[in-house]
């Protein structure tokens, strides 16, 4: 019976070949523990997606509602404190892991031709991860997040040529308010997850296509 299901899927989707390729593909001998940071970053991303969806069920963006809705998650929801803390801790660990992964790739020279494009997608993924952190930091709307965002958007506003536009875009007004919160929330839960997932797919596709780089 179960074989019937496998045969059914194999005829239509070629699952045997795909699973054989997945199970039997060779991992080069020189791969050691230093190679795990990219994978840990991906694990962090999955944890962020799962805990983020749970938080989004109860979070309400808005200057009057954001803080109280996060308190509600922490005080009244089962494991609310753990889920929010897991989201916050994993965010920080994820950025550390991206940086360590980048340094590993750099000092191993794994960016060398023909892997330049995977380096490019990797750097863009790094910038997206940092933007994820920055946009998420404002959402609880406590003193820390408000003033850190104020400093951050002021730095962005001081950028030559594009600063003014960038600050207007981020704040969606002249100061941090309801519009800013919805904007950061949209960036955090809609734009970045979609764009980052697409770049992640490209990143992984290139690893499979190009293989793991030889050591220097």
């Amino acid at each position: 019976m179960s074989l019937g299901v496998v045969d059914f899927l194999d005829e239509r989707l070629d699952v045997r070949r795909i699973s054989r390729e997945f199970a039997e593909h060779k991992v080069p001998d020189h791969v050691n523990w230093l190679y795990c940071f990219g994978g840990i970053t991906f694990l962090c991303f999955l944890i962020q997606a799962a805990t983020g969806v749970l938080l989004a069920f109860y979070y309400r963006p808005g200057t009057d509602t954001a803080y109280t809705s996060v308190l509600h998650i922490m005080d009244d929801m089962p494991y609310g404190v753990v889920i929010r803390s897991l989201h916050a801790w994993t965010a920080n660990i994820m950025i550390i892991m991206v940086i360590v992964h980048m340094l590993r790739v750099f000092f191993h020279g794994a960016y060398r031709p023909p892997r330049e494009l995977n380096w490019v997608t990797g750097v863009l993924l790094f910038f997206m991860t940092v933007t994820f952190g920055f946009s998420g930091y404002l959402l609880p709307m406590n003193q820390l997040s408000y003033w850190a965002t104020k400093v951050g958007t002021e730095i962005a506003g001081a950028m030559p040529f594009v600063g003014g536009y960038l600050q207007d875009f981020l704040l969606a007004g002249s100061k941090i308010g309801d519009a800013t919160l919805t904007r950061f929330y949209t960036i955090h839960v809609i734009i970045l997850p979609i764009v980052l997932s697409m770049f992640l797919a490209a990143h992984f596709y290139m690893i499979r296509k190009q293989g793991i780089a030889d050591p220097l």
Partner: protein, 138 residues
């Protein structure tokens, strides 16, 4: 092997260990370890909530998040426009495109050594600046 080339996937299929079960077991171990550490941190050091945002009450020693601290500290020493232009407009494009110049700098005997040394110094400086900012040095 010449340092100019970097073999691609097909040439690896002879050597190495199969993904399942050899490598997969290690991956599961790493996943378990990382999940353990994260749950440990989240349960024993839960994120504080603090006071609600108040635009009229500036708290003492406000700082951006840790990953912006090195940029934040640079801005105390160099003119703001230069520091910001370097951090957000000049450095990121360099970071993105430098692999395309590999064949150029690999021609020099010490090209890669010099590049790696410069980056190592840069990383050390960034960590040092972030530490200064964290400790509140002006």
């Amino acid at each position: 092997m010449s340092p100019e080339t970097n073999h691609s996937h097909d040439e690896h299929d002879q050597g190495g260990v199969p993904f399942l079960p050899d490598h997969f077991v290690k991956e599961v171990a790493v996943i378990a370890l990382v999940m353990g550490i994260l749950i440990f941190l989240a349960t024993l050091m839960p994120s504080p909530m603090g006071l609600p945002a108040d635009p009229l009450k500036t708290p003492l020693g406000i700082k951006p998040e840790w990953y912006f601290l090195s940029v934040y500290q640079i801005l105390k020493y160099v003119p703001k426009t230069i520091g910001i232009a370097w951090s957000f407009l000049i450095f990121p494009p360099i970071l993105i495109i430098f692999p395309f110049f590999y064949r150029f700098y690999a021609r020099f005997k010490y090209g890669r050594l010099i590049l790696h040394t410069l980056v190592a110094i840069g990383v050390f400086l960034a960590v040092f600046l972030a530490a200064l900012a964290y400790l509140g040095f002006e």
